[in-house]
């Protein structure tokens, strides 16, 4: 009897573990890692204009003018093209969006804006990824909600999906 218990114990243990894993797979926990940049002020920077007819972007210009959405993108980035309609919707909802173009070329960027539309009020050229890194961003696209005092309120890693539009607009309104 005792030996039988011992022999079946490994299987019982394994079934327990497997059941737990099934539950875990069906209901994956919240995988988002909270951003370290949230609630910290925007690092100081000043970027030259990346496109004709639009100004460049600087941290000084962002402060004191109400909340902004800062979008880090590039014309060579496919997901950035995919998020263009969402940015347009957010801009049409009255949210000021400024872009930071990473390692881009002027003609490519102009073509990108011509093809996918221009939701930006200003675009800065970050040719060395310096501002991108200072913002704690590791890839394109990423978006930051920055309040009127120049403090980061939200970091969205990856493209803005249609499902995200409402929450981004809400986050900008909450940052008033």
């Amino acid at each position: 009897m005792k030996r039988a218990v011992l022999l079946w114990a490994p299987l019982a243990l394994f079934i327990l573990l497997a059941t737990f894993m099934v539950l875990k797979l069906r209901n994956p926990g919240d995988q988002t890692i909270p951003s370290k940049m949230v609630n910290t002020p925007v690092p100081e920077f000043a970027l030259p204009a990346a496109a004709d007819g639009l100004p460049g972007v600087s941290s000084a210009a962002l402060a004191g003018k109400g909340p902004h959405l800062v979008n880090i993108f590039a014309s060579w980035c496919v997901p950035c093209a995919a998020e263009a309609p969402q940015l347009k919707a957010i801009a049409e909802a009255g949210v000021p969006i400024v872009g930071i173009a990473i390692r881009d070329r002027r003609p490519d960027l102009a073509e990108f804006l011509g093809r996918y539309g221009n939701p930006f009020r200003a675009i800065g050229a970050d040719d060395q990824s310096k501002v991108q890194l200072a913002l704690g961003s590791s890839g394109v696209p990423e978006s930051f909600v920055i309040d009127g005092k120049g403090v980061i309120r939200l970091q969205k890693i990856g493209p803005i999906n249609p499902d995200d539009v409402a929450s981004i607009i809400a986050a900008v309104q909450a940052a008033q």
């Binding site: 030996r3 039988a4 022999l7 079946w8 490994p10 299987l11 394994f14 079934i15 573990l17 497997a18 737990f20 894993m21 099934v22 539950l23 875990k24 797979l25 994956p28 926990g29 919240d30 995988q31 890692i33 990473i102 390692r103 060395q128 990824s129 890194l133 590791s138 890839g139 394109v140």
Partner: protein, 643 residues
């Protein structure tokens, strides 16, 4: 065309695999007519999977962007080696590689294994086919590596620049060889349970596979640790990351199995336990793969994460591990008990080794799963790190190493305590002497490094003790293998203890022209200049370094930026000395124009990987020794038959 041919070869291989399982079941149930079919089928299956994998490599080398996998992972500007290795640097390709290695290993068992009773061998090949079917289903149904992309893009999406490293190109194949070797041990255990034939012959047939798997796992872990050390630029060599644990757990189980299989082969003891360990070892490699690939654990290493793949792997896991454990429970009761032995004997020491390894394995498994369990119970996001693993597993590992020093000096079956104490006397004296010397001479250090360092000296001495008083030319090769592997553990322990006790670290911001002392070195930042490579650009520092008044030498760490995909990495520059490594990393430039420099002087840190290499070399010698002995025995049999 190539992609379609590859897929066709894969389907044919899968069909043969199913055939192999069906025939094996028929044979085991008593149908003798199909007896001769299993071996050729296993061989043909191996040829087909290798063909499929070879064609995938060809697609990557030619950068055929009409294939989805190639478009996602390849890039025409990538150096040849990484286009080649890119074939398995992704989920789909790595599964195909896994299937190929599995089939080749199955063919090797079918063609080379002659000692095992025929029915047990065929049951083993049936088990191998059952595992194979599950892993064929992966590329065939869930993630086809040959899927086309229409229209094809103009350029591929590159490979993670962190992964563009020659070491890493060969890291996964090494680990897979290890895992597949364990799957063979698993199949042997299944075969033996099916025919109730658990004995020395089974152990001898299984041993080379366990040994081979263990060598590759050792190499994989050692290389992976060194890669993380110089590539990640944190100066650490082991992070207790889930992915690292996933490779450590099968190694621990394989180490235990390697020792218990010796008891079974030599003394016909530990029958049920050895079978259990064979099941556990492969289970650990599957659970490890599952944890990494399913994404249920968050890890900096986690790649190819996809919950659907997770469900698939979990189903396989449940089928194989659950099936094997059920078979174990049903059958092991009917396996005769093996020979008995005294507590104080070589068997006794090996049992203690097995128990300690199993407990350490349990500690690592619990630590790896604990964040999951805690999140499920309380919703808290926690990460279990070095504080837990080091303090829980560290002391046990030290006891384990001490037992390792004593075990080989004991005789089989029965040993007198007095005799073993006398044999251990020199090593014990050295440990005591080292304890005193370290305490008096060296700067104060933590308890674990202190004990570890002293113990390492004693165990290094004890590990060569089995050679004392022996005719060195007549000592079998596998004894040398054991001695070298045990010595390797002592050397590695020495490196770990020195690294944690004596490392000097400097994190400074310096202007060009400034000097910083670190350990015995003076480091001067001579210049920082831009530099370009094939697919990256960087800021490269030139560090002029002197040791005391010695000759000046230059190290050039870089802060690199890759542009496809854009990623920033620090390329460390390392100067390797006989007595350690100077490790330098260039960080960012501060606003005031000074550069961040991270400098480490790590005395004897290289011993960690040198020890790992010795362990692997010892394993290889032992394997060679076993094979040579088999070949000679066969030759003698042959000659006797014709005399």
């Amino acid at each position: 065309m190539i992609a379609e041919a590859g897929l066709a070869a894969l389907w044919l291989g899968a069909a043969l695999c199913v055939l192999q399982l069906v025939v094996a079941i028929l044979v085991v149930r008593g149908d003798e007519t199909a007896n001769g079919l299993v071996r050729p089928v296993a061989a043909a299956q191996a040829v087909l999977t290798c063909l499929a994998f070879g064609l995938l490599i060809l697609l990557f080398v030619r950068v055929d962007l009409s294939v989805l996998l190639v478009a996602e992972n390849d890039h025409s500007e990538k150096p040849f080696l990484y286009r080649f290795a890119g074939a398995w640097g992704n989920h789909e390709g790595s599964m195909l590689m896994w299937v190929s290695i599995l089939a080749v290993a199955g063919a090797a068992v079918a063609l080379l294994e002659k000692r095992l009773e025929e029915r047990t061998l065929i049951a083993t090949l049936g088990g191998q086919a059952a595992i194979g079917i599950g892993f064929y289903a992966f590329p065939l149904f869930a993630s086809n590596p040959f899927a086309r992309l229409n229209p094809s893009p103009a350029e591929g999406q590159g490979l993670n620049p962190l992964l563009q490293d020659p070491g890493l190109a060969f890291h996964p194949p090494t680990l897979y060889l290890g895992y597949v070797g364990l799957s063979i041990a698993f199949s042997f255990a299944i075969g033996a349970l099916v025919t109730r034939d658990v004995g020395p012959a089974f152990a001898r047939a299984m041993r080379p596979w366990v040994l081979g798997a263990w060598i590759f796992l050792t190499l994989g872990i050692t290389a992976g640790s060194y890669w993380a050390y110089y590539e990640l630029g944190w100066g650490g060599w082991w992070f207790w990351d889930p992915v690292e644990n996933a490779s450590l757990m099968p190694w621990l189980a394989a180490t235990a199995l390697l020792h218990s299989v010796t008891v079974l082969a030599t003394r016909d003891g530990l029958r049920a336990w050895t079978v259990m360990l064979a099941v556990v070892a492969f289970s650990m490699s599957m659970i490890g793969t599952f944890l990494v690939r399913s994404g249920i654990l968050t890890s900096v290493h986690a790649f190819a994460v996809d919950p659907r793949r997770g469900s698939f792997l979990l189903a396989l896991l449940a089928l194989y591990i659950g099936g094997a454990l059920a078979l174990f429970a049903l059958r092991v009761g009917t396996v005769r008990e093996g020979s008995r032995f005294d507590a104080v004997s070589r068997e006794g020491a090996l049992v203690l080794n097995n128990l300690l390894l199993t407990v350490v394995l349990g500690i690592v498994l619990v630590g790896t799963l604990y964040p999951l369990i805690a999140e499920a119970l309380s919703g808290a996001k926690i990460s279990v790190g070095p504080p837990y693993f080091n303090s829980a597993a560290g002391p046990l590992a030290l006891i384990l190493v001490a037992v390792m020093g004593a075990g080989p000096m004991m005789r089989w079956r029965r040993e007198e305590l007095g005799v073993i104490a006398r044999r251990m006397a020199p090593a014990t004296a050295l440990v005591v002497f080292a304890l005193v010397a370290v305490k008096l001479v060296l700067p104060p250090m933590g308890l674990l490094p202190f004990l570890g360092l002293a113990l390492a000296f004693g165990v290094a001495l004890a590990s060569v003790a089995p050679l004392w008083g022996r005719n060195l030319r007549r000592t079998p090769l596998f004894t040398y293998g054991m001695v070298i592997a045990h010595l390797g553990i002592a050397v590695s322990l020495m490196g770990m203890a020195c690294d944690s006790a004596f490392t000097r670290e400097k994190l400074v911001a310096v202007a060009v022209g400034d000097s910083v002392p670190v350990g015995p070195f003076t480091v001067k930042l001579a210049s920082v200049a831009p530099n370009f490579g094939e697919n990256w650009e960087s800021m490269q520092a030139s560090l002029e370094i002197r040791r005391g008044n010695g000759a000046m030498f230059v190290l050039e760490p870089q802060a690199r930026a890759y542009w496809s995909p854009p990623t920033e990495t620090g390329e460390s520059a390392i100067s390797t000395r006989l007595d350690g490594q100077l490790y330098t990393v260039l960080g960012k430039q501060n606003d005031d124009g000074r550069w961040q420099l991270r400098l480490w002087w790590k005395p004897f840190v290289t011993f960690i990987w040198l020890g790992g290499a010795l362990v692997a070399i010892g394993g290889a010698l032992a394997l060679l020794g076993r094979i040579l002995r088999d070949v000679r025995a066969k030759k003698r049999e042959h000659e006797a038959a014709y005399a």
